[in-house]
């Protein structure tokens, strides 16, 4: 892990604070999340206090501090999705997976993330699991989808 982050940081030699966000983004793309180690290493690299980096990372929606589950479930909660029933979908997911927004289940199978809008309002309510989208979702279909994933 450490060596991977360090080799990543080599691409950003002689950079200043304005590349902090791209650095964190690349680490997250690579590792799936920002580990404590990563935040410390970035701090050393840019000569910035760790607290400031953590403060920045928690400010933005993109960054997460827990590894993603095997199945990363993203729920769209835009206005159209809300009007067309995203709330019950989210409640059902929280109940079935026993996790809340931003968390990963203990067995590492599922992680849940609420998104502000994925821009597919015609297909509301919509979710995506590992990048595959499911539109016009009903509670029954969602149950089937999750049950099937749990079998694997």
């Amino acid at each position: 892990m450490r060596s991977r982050i360090e080799s990543l940081l080599e691409n950003y030699a002689h950079t200043k604070r304005d590349s902090l966000i791209p650095i964190l983004q690349q680490i997250q793309d690579d590792l799936g999340y920002l580990s404590e180690e990563a935040v410390v290493l970035v701090g050393k690299h840019l000569d910035m206090p760790t607290s400031q980096i953590y403060g920045l990372a928690t400010f933005y929606n993109q960054f997460r501090f827990e590894p993603k589950g095997k199945y990363h479930v993203q729920v769209c909660h835009g206005t159209a999705c809300h009007v067309l029933g995203a709330q019950p979908i989210l409640a059902l997911l929280e109940k079935m997976l026993k996790i809340k927004d931003g968390q990963t289940s203990r067995d590492g199978q599922f992680s849940l993330q609420v998104m502000s809008c994925i821009g597919a309002c015609a297909q509301a309510p919509a979710i995506s699991i590992n990048g595959k989208f499911y539109g016009k979702l009903t509670q029954e279909r969602l149950k089937d989808i999750i049950d099937e994933l749990k079998q694997h």
């Binding site: 200043k16 604070r17 304005d18 590349s19 902090l20 966000i21 791209p22 964190l24 983004q25 403060g55 920045l56 400010f59 933005y60 929606n61 993109q62 960054f63 909660h77 835009g78 206005t79 159209a80 809300h82 009007v83 067309l84 998104m115 502000s116 809008c117 994925i118 821009g119 597919a120 309002c121 015609a122 297909q123 509301a124 919509a126 995506s128 989208f133 539109g135």
Partner: protein, 654 residues
């Protein structure tokens, strides 16, 4: 910038030579619209083999367009048919996606709707053999030299299209966004070529000033004013930023525009950068918009390759670098000063103005931040002139505006209409609400907007007219609400969003949004173990909401906080009785507020299986096994467990 590293297979040296010559013509605009055999080849007017167009955008992706695309490819390999497959953007009719178009040599290009993967082979079997399944056909493009298909309307005859004025969306869903020659063959980059050759920096600003173009991001600030301010500021370096971080929930026009016609935005940005004399421009979009990022990256690479960006553009001596930056996602970064902080690698927190970014912006240098829709207007303004543009729309709000219409509506879509068009027209274009339902309100402007009731929909939409009736244009997201929607729940949703997205810098917004959310939650919560104090708080709720909203509006630092109470204020104005019902009668007429529902058992359906009585957390359900059960209203907390466990759908709520 490492853009020349690998060549894009889309541009051949022949293309490059042809288009460079075209853009260097004495009048590039006229040249690009001329009848020319080579241009027609690029516009795919004359084709030698069938062309199949598949609409791929972030919206159609969810509808399964990528599966359709793969199925088309598989079909062609299996049947051995020689045809081109072209990726296009979105026509704006999101409810009819996935869409594919088929064009046979000598025949009009025909559009098919809702082509799910399983329909592909039967559809192509027919269409490629001159037989079209009319039930899937949406329309065909008019082209005088082509033979039309019988029984299929022309696209320009379909009321959805002919009632619109499509300036920004004119290429969307028609051209290949991943291929610069499609854009160039339709007059693309000629405005940039003209500007670089003929106009001074100030002349460009003056043309835009004449057009009276105003910012489309929500504020409605005159674009030319910003540009002139930045132009006049003396500095060794200036920046131009394109705000492509669409973040209003329920709005998707910017994404679809960028994904369907990315070069239009890049051309507008390049002209803007020239107008203020900036040599560095940044497109700030969101990391999460994968397809948008991909298309913009590709488009930038192609523009560099053709020499439309970079060093000494078209031999004019002007240099411009455009960089794509991927925002990590924060609603407040739609505010220009917050966006600039984010680019500097800081938290996206707004700063007080003045100094305006046009004087002191990114890294302390003069910076202009414009929304993508604003910039997408610029090439047309240069081509047709400021006066021509100013004649569209109303005297104060000129041009057209794209609205994304979603919610409880028959067809979720993008519509582009001249400013001043009534909202009712927008609702009508989107097909109205489903038949058995009644239109309750139209929410415009996302989380910072308000609700218009059906009676007020006939007023024109422009920046001033909307403010007069207490609304806000926002970025143009329109959500249609019918009578199954609870207004308090809607406002609670927006306030939850604002509370989460408030940057936390100024107190009115940070604490005000939280208190407002608390009040709304109190109103919609079932009063369990409620003491006198809580009841009083509930009654005071509405009074507090109003005064809190006013404080937030008047004292917040940035637009986010100032406009955040809009949903509350507009619903208090139009739907006060609904608030009162929630507070005094503890009823939610739409049945949305879970905690206010009263459950009943249908004696006809109940078999007395005892499942609900065993699960009920408050033992509110009583009865004898094998005969209908009964819910004691006073004990019921409205959790809905009984409804979930009932296998006979005997539990219902009012």
């Amino acid at each position: 910038m490492n853009t020349h590293a690998n060549m894009d297979p889309h541009i051949t040296p022949i293309d490059q030579e042809f288009f460079t010559k075209l853009l260097n013509a004495p009048d590039p605009i006229a040249a690009s619209f001329a009848e020319d055999a080579t241009l027609e080849k690029y516009r795919r007017v004359k084709i030698t083999k069938p062309v199949i167009y598949v609409g791929l955008t972030s919206s159609s992706e969810v509808a399964g367009a990528f599966d359709t695309y793969n199925e088309v490819q598989r079909y062609l390999t299996e049947t051995g048919v020689d045809a081109d497959v072209v990726t296009v953007g979105s026509l704006g009719l999101c409810s009819f996606e996935p869409m594919i178009d088929v064009q046979l040599p000598g025949k009009c290009r025909i559009v098919f709707q809702q082509v799910t993967p399983e329909k592909v082979s039967s559809l192509l079997d027919g269409a490629l053999n001159n037989f079209i399944p009319t039930e899937f056909a949406l329309g065909q493009y008019r082209q005088s030299i082509h033979q039309p298909w019988p029984g299929v309307p022309y696209m320009d005859e379909i009321s959805f299209f002919h009632s619109q004025r499509r300036l920004l969306l004119q290429n969307c869903g028609i051209i290949d966004p991943e291929n610069i020659s499609d854009y160039l063959s339709r007059g693309g980059y000629t405005a940039l070529a003209l500007v670089l050759r003929k106009h001074t920096h100030e002349a460009v600003c003056r043309i835009v000033e004449q057009s009276k173009l105003r910012g489309r991001g929500g504020g409605g600030f005159p674009t030319a004013k910003k540009w002139l301010m930045a132009l006049q500021a003396a500095a060794d370096q200036k920046y131009f930023i394109c705000n492509a971080d669409e973040s209003d929930p329920g709005a998707f026009m910017d994404r679809l525009l960028m994904e369907s016609d990315p070069h239009r935005v890049i051309e507008g940005l390049a002209i803007g950068a020239y107008a203020i004399g900036a040599s560095k421009a940044i497109i700030y979009t969101r990391n999460r918009y994968r397809l948008t990022v991909e298309r913009l990256e590709k488009a930038l690479k192609q523009a560099y390759q053709l020499g439309l960006l970079g060093h000494n553009i078209l031999d004019s001596g002007y240099n411009l670098d455009i960089v794509l930056r991927k925002g990590p996602g924060a609603y407040v970064c739609g505010e220009e000063t917050a966006l600039i902080r984010s680019l500097e690698g800081k938290r996206g927190m707004p700063e007080s103005k003045p100094p305006y970014p046009a004087e002191k912006g990114l890294f302390g240098k003069p910076t202009v931040v414009n929304n993508i829709e604003t910039l997408a207007n610029v090439p047309t303004i240069i081509q047709k002139g400021g006066e021509w543009f100013a004649a569209i729309g109303t005297p104060t709000s000129t041009g057209t505006k794209i609205f994304s219409v979603a919610g409880k509506i028959n067809s979720t879509c993008l519509v582009e209409v001249p400013m001043g068009t009534p909202l009712s027209k927008v609702v009508e274009l989107a097909g109205g609400v489903p038949e058995e339902r009644k239109l309750k309100a139209v929410q415009i402007g996302g989380a910072s907007g308000g609700c218009a009731v059906p009676e007020t929909l006939n007023g024109p939409i422009d920046f001033e007219a909307l403010v007069d009736v207490g609304l806000n244009m926002g970025s143009g997201g329109v959500t249609i609400l019918d009578d199954t929607v609870c207004m308090i729940d809607m406002v609670k949703y927006f306030m939850h969003f604002i509370q989460k997205e408030s940057c936390g810098k100024c107190i009115p917004c940070r604490d005000g949004s939280r208190r407002m959310l608390e009040i709304l939650e109190n109103i919609t919560r079932r009063p369990v173990n409620e003491n006198g104090h809580n009841t009083l708080e509930r009654f005071k709720g509405v009074i507090h909401l109003e005064s809190l909203a006013e404080v937030m509006r008047d004292t917040s630092l940035c637009g986010l906080g100032q406009t955040a109470p809009n949903p509350v204020l507009s619903t208090l104005k139009h739907f006060r009785e609904e608030y009162e019902e929630h507070i005094f009668d503890r009823k939610c007429r739409a049945g949305v507020c879970r905690d206010l529902r009263t459950f009943y058992v249908d004696v006809e359906k109940c078999t007395g299986c005892t499942a609900c009585a065993r699960k009920c957390p408050t033992n509110a359900i009583i009865g004898t096994p094998r005969s209908p059960y009964f819910i004691i209203e006073d004990k019921c907390i409205g959790c809905g467990v009984c409804q979930d466990v009932c296998k006979f759908s005997a539990v219902f709520f009012k």
